[in-house]
């Protein structure tokens, strides 16, 4: 079941089309990645999901029915540009933001205490935000985003501005939130995190969806029957064995073995290949190369950019 659906969303600005019939289906309990180059329309779409701006066309559905304005209470949003009231005290501010999401003061207090203890930031409660470092402010902001335990969490570039330790912590939190049943949409440029975290993605380029679906399936779909073989022995013998049915992509001489990457014809399976080379060399490793999201991203975006320019 989809927790959230945006159907055929169109958003126009005065002299530019930000989103052109974009559809996103977010299954409940999944982590959903929103990918795309800068200026593709990711933030616009996230703002529409948040009800910050209204689409010109298209419909939004939440929990199987039409999106209601009050549904924003079930959404937690971490914008790309983080910000808090600088002169306000941390605790007071967190309470205020939690109450704006519809929580009672007592409940907000209870949960904030829990999260502040978990993140070991209790000592900051009475400090002004401007006294904290940027990383500390990010932590506070993260807590305020999830404090009302929303069913849908939206993170816009959540890892930008975090150091590796905090990035890791954040990734773990995202997975933990998912385990607890939250659905998460996040936009990112960091393809590594997509493979690590995302179940589904939508890739937007030039205001249009150009790729969408299950991350695993997409990677499988884009694999090109390429294999990486490590062996001890004469590389020329291996090449002659496979000659005619494979293309050599890469050959690397390591200290004690050779590694080649080859793209095989559709008719040639991994087993066939092994059968051909096992008699002639000693194989140390063999695996099929599954494209990274990074490769797919570059491949798909460049392919679209080479088509005719997107005119209005």
């Amino acid at each position: 079941m989809y927790l959230f659906t945006a159907r055929d969303i169109v958003k126009r600005y005065t002299n530019h089309l930000a989103l052109d019939r974009v559809t996103v289906n977010v299954p409940e309990g999944s982590v959903y990645g929103l990918l795309g180059p800068n200026g593709a329309g990711k933030t616009t779409l996230l703002r529409i999901i948040n009800q910050i701006s209204m689409p010109d066309e298209g419909e939004l559905f939440f929990m199987g029915r039409k999106f209601q304005p009050d549904d924003v209470a079930h959404i937690g949003y971490l914008p790309e540009e983080r910000g808090l009231y600088k002169k306000m005290k941390v605790g007071e501010q967190a309470l205020y933001l939690a109450q704006l999401k519809g929580m009672s003061k007592a409940e907000a207090m209870k949960r904030l205490k829990h999260w502040f203890t978990k993140f070991e930031i209790q000592a900051w409660w009475n400090k002004k935000v401007e006294e904290l470092s940027k990383g500390m402010q990010q932590k506070v902001q993260f807590v305020t985003t999830i404090i009302h335990e929303p069913r849908l969490l939206i993170f816009d570039e959540p890892f930008s501005g975090f150091d590796p330790i905090n990035t890791n912590m954040l990734k773990n939190e995202i997975l933990e939130l998912k385990k607890k049943g939250s659905t998460i949409i996040f936009s990112t440029h960091d393809m590594g995190s997509v493979e690590e975290l995302c179940d589904y993605i939508t890739l937007i380029n030039k205001s249009k969806t150009i790729l969408e679906g299950d991350v695993h399936n997409i990677r499988m779909e884009y694999k090109s029957n390429t294999f990486e073989i490590g062996f001890n022995g004469d590389a020329e013998v291996v090449k002659s064995q496979l000659n005619g049915r494979c293309q050599l992509v890469e050959q690397v001489e390591e200290r004690d073995h050779t590694r080649i990457k080859i793209k095989a014809d559709r008719s040639l399976s991994g087993n066939d290949m092994l059968n051909l080379i096992l008699p002639v060399v000693s194989v140390t490793s063999f695996n099929e190369v599954i494209p990274t999201m990074n490769d797919i991203f570059i491949h798909v975006v460049e392919a679209q950019n080479q088509q005719k320019p997107n005119v209005l």
Partner: protein
């Protein structure tokens, strides 16, 4: 608590706890009182150092006149800070040569020919330090009075006739409507109250309007606005801010009202009450002041306090005649109306720009009607039912300021109603307009905004 209530509460709480607000609230009335009292006080301070002026009288040949033959001896009475010394043997050029040696602050030359001067003539005063306006007036008035009396005296008009020639007229204004009850006229107090209230509204609109603008700008540059509008509607955020800051204004006003009332009550009982009786007795000997300058001066000095007490008590008495509740009610209405009208525009400006320096170009059209308002208000202060005052007290952009100058003087109900309705309609209009600009503006960064752009946002 609902969301807009939360926003109002936050805006209010963060500001009401600020040191600057508390200090301003406490010293506000003192500051205002000081603004009124200090200039006068400084003026008297300056005059405290005594100037000594030598008076030299010379005859038709330019020769000094001996004491017994001097016309103008003791004609100009000494004052607290001016002493006149009459010289008898100094010759005109001789005394001027003594600039270094002489200790006089100035020398006044009087020709005996003055006594028969026509409608206009002149007299020379040599000075070291520029004479004050008061000194100049004192010298010429004293001389004019003496010459006037003298001209009658030589025509053998008896002194008692001369003394009875001048009659001072005090115009007593009585509100016809109150006839046959003769209440004390309160025009001065009404003028003062209207002026003060109009000025205060002008001041409040600017001060709190600018706070709204800075608050919006702060949220925008902090980027927290995006988090907040994901929880509430932009309109709620804008109105919450405007109302919260408006409540700060009201708090300040009420605090000032209470403080002023408290201070004046204390001042009345502690400083002025006991001496008020003495003050009434002082009116009788005022004649002496004219006939005998030296004695008069002494009386005037001791009478200063009593006179002040009398004026103060008179003022308090008149205050009781004024419909103070109407004025306060009107103040609250026009303050809120004007503040929301301008505050929403200020909010729109804050949302449209990225930093405070860019606000200038949009501030101008807001500043102009406010300044026109204050200018017309000063005019209305002099003539509360004049055509200009009436027109500008109905136009909503200026009515909050101008109407306050008219309110103490019984404005025709129809005009008041029209003015109030127009103000309400207009602030609803500007709020609607501002909300449209605000909604788009708060999420717009790095774009130089001009009026054409704003118009697009409004139409959008």
């Amino acid at each position: 608590m609902n969301k807009i209530g939360l926003i109002i509460w936050r805006e209010y709480l963060t500001r009401v706890r600020k040191k600057s607000f508390i200090i301003m609230t406490l010293i506000g009335p003192v500051l205002f009182a000081a603004l009124i009292i200090l200039p006068g006080w400084f003026a008297t301070m300056e005059d405290k150092d005594v100037r000594e002026i030598a008076v030299v009288e010379y005859d038709a040949n330019g020769q000094p006149v001996p004491d017994s033959l001097q016309f103008f001896r003791e004609v100009i009475p000494n004052k607290e800070n001016i002493r006149f010394t009459y010289l008898s043997s100094a010759r005109l050029p001789d005394i001027l040569k003594l600039y270094e040696a002489a200790h006089y602050d100035g020398v006044l030359f009087l020709s005996q020919g003055l006594i028969s001067a026509g409608r206009e003539t002149s007299v020379e005063l040599y000075y070291r330090k520029t004479p004050s306006m008061g000194m100049e007036v004192h010298i010429s008035k004293s001389l004019e009075k003496f010459l006037f009396d003298n001209k009658l005296r030589v025509k053998n008009i008896p002194p008692e006739v001369i003394n009875s020639l001048e009659t001072k007229i005090n115009l007593t204004r009585i509100n016809w409507k109150n006839w046959p009850n003769q209440k004390e006229d309160t025009t001065d107090v009404k003028r003062g109250l209207g002026y003060a209230a109009g000025f205060l509204i002008y001041f409040f609109i600017f001060m709190f309007g600018a706070q709204v603008m800075r608050g919006v700008l702060e949220e925008k540059t902090n980027r927290i606005v995006e988090v907040i509008v994901s929880s509430v509607k932009p309109f709620q955020l804008m109105m919450g801010k405007i109302i919260g800051i408006g409540l700060i204004g009201l708090t300040q006003f009420v605090a000032w009202l209470i403080l002023t009332f408290g201070i004046s009550t204390v001042a009345q009982t502690v400083f002025f009450q006991p001496s008020a009786k003495a003050a009434t007795e002082i009116t009788a000997p005022s004649d002496i002041m004219n006939s005998n300058p030296v004695v008069g001066q002494a009386v005037a000095e001791s009478g200063d306090r009593e006179e002040m007490a009398l004026a103060f008590n008179g003022f308090m008495k008149k205050m009781k005649e004024v419909n103070i509740f109407l004025i306060i009610g009107a103040f609250l209405f026009y303050f809120l109306g004007g503040y929301i009208l301008y505050g929403s525009l200020f909010a729109a400006i804050g949302a449209a720009v990225d930093n405070e320096t860019d606000t200038q170009q949009f501030m101008f059209p807001i500043t102009v009607p406010l300044i026109i308002g204050i200018i017309v208000m000063i005019n209305a202060f002099l003539n509360p039912s004049g055509k200009m005052a009436v027109i500008f007290s109905i136009i909503p952009l200026t009515s909050p300021i101008v109407m306050m100058a008219r309110i103490p003087f019984e404005v025709p109900p129809l005009q008041l109603l029209l003015s109030a309705v127009l103000l309400i309609v207009t602030f609803l209009g500007t709020t609607w307009l501002a909300a449209k600009i605000y909604r788009t503006g708060i999420l717009m960064y790095g774009k130089k905004v001009n009026y054409a752009e704003l118009w697009k946002w409004i139409k959008y």
